[in-house]
């Protein structure tokens, strides 16, 4: 009887241990996901802000002269080879599009974006069929000339989070099998 009882106790303890282990792993994974999301979002936001503001500052003269080819070359140079940049859109004061990077057309979601004449603003945007973006908007000459929108992709952040979570899960699975 004694060995049977001790076996039961051992298996109970093991289940409790595994349960605690699982809860800890879950909490850690959630914490990891939240912190990765927060840190990478901040990083992408900062990158988007830098791109939007640099275009807004360097494009004033060009926009005043209304030269779409030069503005397009300017936004292409910021978009090419910059990881995480999903789109760049330059609109005039009336909301008419001066330059953009969308294929095959500018999505409808871009028409109603938030614009602030004084500050660079951030907004979460979901574009049907394309994905989620952190939209950073900078005014050009206090909005008198127009606005620059830079869409930083959420997909790389989400991919990074999933990768980390998968690593955590693998680590947990290895550890629990070792405990067993």
């Amino acid at each position: 009887m004694a060995p049977m009882t001790s076996m039961k106790l051992l298996s109970k303890a093991l289940v409790i241990l595994l349960g605690l282990f699982g809860i800890t792993a879950l909490v850690m994974t959630i914490y990891l996901a939240v912190s990765i999301n927060r840190d990478l979002s901040a990083e992408f936001h900062s990158k988007g802000k830098a791109i939007a503001e640099s275009i807004a500052e360097s494009g004033t003269e060009t926009l005043l002269n209304r030269d779409p080819a030069t503005i397009q070359a300017l936004i292409d140079s910021r978009c090419d080879g910059t990881p995480g940049v999903g789109y760049i859109l330059v609109m005039d004061k009336q909301g008419e599009i001066i330059a953009h990077t969308f294929v095959p057309q500018v999505p409808e979601e871009m028409r109603g974006l938030v614009r602030d004449r004084q500050h660079t603003t951030t907004q979460e945007v979901r574009v049907a069929g394309q994905g989620d973006y952190i939209n950073v908007c900078s005014p050009i000459l206090a909005g008198e000339v127009g606005f620059v929108h830079v869409g930083m992709e959420r997909a790389p952040i989400q991919k990074h989070i999933w990768n980390r979570c998968a690593q955590m899960a693998s680590l947990f699975a290895c550890s629990s099998s070792w405990v067993q």
């Binding site: 397009q72 292409d76 140079s77 090419d80 969308f102 095959p104």
Partner: protein
């Protein structure tokens, strides 16, 4: 011993003189720099432009060159991408010491290279005859350092819009490459329509480098919903041919126009091949604007000379430039443009005379007045006028080739 040396000395002297002369000649070559697409989906443009230019330069060099100096065209491949074009420009200016830059292909490449030409610490390097009709090199701050022979995209698109409006086709949509080139053409159409109080019926974009095999059905669907009377394409030949194929397959049978950059022969070849496979004529209702006359017009002395010299020299780009399969064309609009560009270049060099220095180029070019390159279009430059020609020609496919046409009325509605 002395007899031998006396007999041998004239021969040795000749060999030595020939060696010295070759060294001097090598040192006194006039180096012209070119960066263009010799690879990728737009390689046909760079290769044919180079071939047209070399047909004339080889002829000039065979006649003793310019003021006794051989004109050397140093070319690099940029694949129609801005970053390699920037690298090539730096190399041409600093390492190859090119007297001037020439025959650059494409708006996205040229617009990114323009700031390199100003050289605040030194003498600006002039860019001659870029194969683009875009605005950035036609307006400050770069208008003084670029010498354009061809008409602008604004002029090409304006001409197309005016002709279509005149025959009652008011719903004009635009299919364009989403970069500086496409956006420049888009703006040209917008401005031309705005003059008549009209706006675009619709617009759709594609990414630079899109190959012919790719489906452009999403773009076709977007434009079909706009119910256009005509579509103006601002793109390169592979994507434009794919768009025409998919539009016709979807039953969108309105006239489709392309501008000169498209590369008409390459576009036609793709459409003819696809049409043959499917038993469909994809070449109907196409109109391409050109900035040079048809190379079938043998009444023009410049065209006759182009055809004759291309046949005589059959120039090819260096092997290290063309790594992909390419079948050179006997003649093309792009080739003729390269040929005319070379004639202008040689005229400027002849007027300039030695010493061939960068600071002397602009003055020599700006002295040209009413120059006929053999196409009956007077070409003039001044300090405040850096575009030589305003001529636009329109072509349609007839008997399997692009030929001049005037019969816009057939599309009246």
């Amino acid at each position: 011993m002395s007899i031998l040396s006396l007999r041998g000395s004239p021969r040795l002297l000749l060999v030595a003189l020939a060696f010295v002369a070759s060294q001097i000649a090598r040192g006194e070559e006039i180096v012209i720099g070119m960066s263009a697409a010799f690879s990728g989906p737009s390689k046909g443009l760079g290769i044919e432009l180079y071939r047209g230019t070399m047909a004339y330069l080889e002829h000039v060099n065979s006649q003793g060159g310019v003021h006794g100096r051989k004109v050397v065209l140093k070319a690099y491949d940029d694949g129609y991408n801005p970053l390699p074009a920037i690298d090539n420009t730096i190399r041409l200016i600093d390492q190859d010491h090119a007297l001037l830059l020439f025959n650059y292909v494409g708006t996205p490449t040229v617009t990114r290279c323009l700031p390199l030409l100003k050289r605040p610490q030194g003498v600006p390097v002039l860019l001659f005859c870029p194969f683009t009709g875009a605005q950035p090199q036609r307006q400050p701050p770069y208008d003084k350092i670029v010498l354009n022979l061809r008409a602008s995209y604004y002029q090409e698109t304006n001409g197309l819009v005016e002709h279509f409006l005149a025959i009652g086709r008011q719903r004009i949509a635009v299919f364009y490459q989403i970069d500086a080139y496409g956006r420049n053409g888009w703006e040209g159409v917008r401005v031309a329509l705005a003059r008549h109080g009209l706006t675009m019926a619709g617009e759709a974009t594609y990414r630079r480098g899109t190959p012919f095999k790719e489906s452009l059905k999403p773009q076709v669907d977007i434009l079909a919903r706009a119910q256009p009377d005509v579509i103006i394409s601002i793109g390169a030949y592979e994507a434009c041919a794919a768009f025409i194929r998919d539009a016709r397959d979807a039953g969108l049978n309105v006239p489709i126009a392309n501008v000169s950059f498209v590369g008409s022969e390459s576009l036609l070849e793709l459409l003819q091949e696809a049409g043959k496979m499917k038993g469909v004529d994809y070449t109907r209702d196409l109109v391409n604007s050109q900035v040079v006359p048809s190379y079938h017009d043998s009444t023009l002395p410049g065209v006759r000379q182009y055809l004759e010299l291309t046949k005589r020299y059959q120039p090819l780009p260096p092997h290290d430039l063309v790594k992909e399969d390419y079948q050179p064309r006997p003649a093309s609009f792009v080739g003729l443009e390269g040929f005319l560009n070379a004639k202008l270049l040689v005229t400027v060099l002849q007027r300039m005379g030695p010493p061939f220095e960068r600071q002397r180029v602009a003055k020599a070019a700006e002295s040209i007045t009413d120059l006929d390159l053999g196409i009956h279009v007077p070409v003039s430059f001044r300090a405040d006028k850096h575009q030589g020609s305003d001529a636009i020609y329109y072509t349609i496919v007839r008997d399997g080739q692009f030929e001049s046409f005037q019969e816009w009325e057939k599309w009246r509605q």
